[in-house]
């Protein structure tokens, strides 16, 4: 009886400690990096006239891969700089939370790329935004509260686009690039700048 009580107590303590170990690592630089990459991708996509569904999909999946690798390296660099374990429990939990929605988004995107129907381009954009928003929201549980709001912004934006796409399904490819540039570029840059400024102020305080 007492053993059960003690085990439950320890379990509660563990859960609370894990919840408390908020993932604060390099969020501002990661957001700024992803934002810069997204914005550059949007501009490059329009300038290079990447227009077929196949090319559009591969182009943005390539940018997503570069963003993931860059974010990984930034987080690792910060861990090394502060002499902390990189693959710590909070990092693991954030990765676990991010993965399901990201994986689903990747699978859906690959299917759309393989189908290669240009009419599906708006759907590709919307799915990318929605799945990414969902994965950020899942990970937001272990991050500062603003992350969840940011994720809701992406999900809301994705849903609005869905309504818009239902009314005007034949959106041109350059609109897709501009939307990707806005959601994955400008919004990330804005959030990154906000994080950067608030973290600096916090440190100063």
């Amino acid at each position: 009886m007492e053993s059960n009580w003690a085990v439950e107590h320890l379990q509660t303590i563990r859960t609370l400690m894990e919840r408390s170990a908020i993932y604060r690592r390099a969020l501002a630089p990661i957001m700024l990096f992803v934002g810069a990459l997204g914005l550059a991708g949007g501009v490059a996509g329009v300038a290079l006239r990447v227009e077929s569904m196949h090319a559009f999909g591969l182009f943005w999946l390539g940018i997503a891969a570069a963003a993931v690798i860059g974010a990984f390296l930034l987080a690792r660099r910060q861990a090394l700089k502060e002499r902390e374990t990189f693959w710590s429990p909070p990092t693991r939990r954030v990765a676990q939370a991010l993965l399901p929605a990201l994986f689903c988004g990747l699978c859906m995107s690959l299917v759309l790329v393989l189908v290669d129907d240009d009419d599906l381009l708006p759907l590709f954009v919307i799915l990318c935004i929605l799945f990414y928003g969902c994965s950020l929201h899942a990970a937001g549980f272990f991050m500062p509260r603003g992350m969840k709001l940011f994720a809701w912004g992406l999900i809301g934006g994705g849903l609005l686009l869905l309504i818009w796409a239902a009314q005007d399904p034949a959106a041109p490819a350059h609109t897709g690039h501009l939307l990707m540039g806005f959601f994955f570029g400008l919004l990330h840059l804005a959030y990154g700048a906000y994080l950067y400024l608030t973290e600096k102020r916090k440190t100063a305080a």
Binding site: E2, S3, A6, V7, H9, L10, T12, I13, L16, M17, E18, R19, S20, A21, I22, R145, T198, R201, K202, A205
Partner: protein, 101 residues
């Protein structure tokens, strides 16, 4: 069964709300009052009372500063608090080990 470990449990930490606060603070260098309140879904008054009790015991340090021109209260475990929390965990583990024997 030896009742010793159970009797040695720190009564200040053993209370549910205070244990939650100590657990959260043990995993973070510091947490703001609002972070603690939101994570533990406590009322301002309830959290203040528990933090005051922990502060009086020397387990928690409270720092007040300003962020964006608004007051910011942050809490952290003191070395005494960290030690007391570690001892509390050790005793819980001891209780589990004893009852498993």
């Amino acid at each position: 069964m030896n009742p010793e470990p159970f009797l040695q449990l720190d009564r200040v930490i053993h209370e549910k709300g205070r244990l939650a606060i100590m657990s959260m603070l043990a995993a973070s260098p510091e947490l703001s009052f609002t972070e603690l309140r939101d994570a533990l879904t406590m009322t301002d008054g309830n959290l203040t009372t528990h933090i005051r009790a922990l502060q009086q015991e020397g387990y928690v340090a409270v720092a007040k500063s300003y962020q964006n021109n608004r007051p910011l209260t942050t809490c952290s475990l003191t070395p005494t608090g960290r030690k007391a929390f570690a001892e509390y965990i050790n005793l819980l583990e001891q209780i589990i080990r004893q009852t498993k024997k």
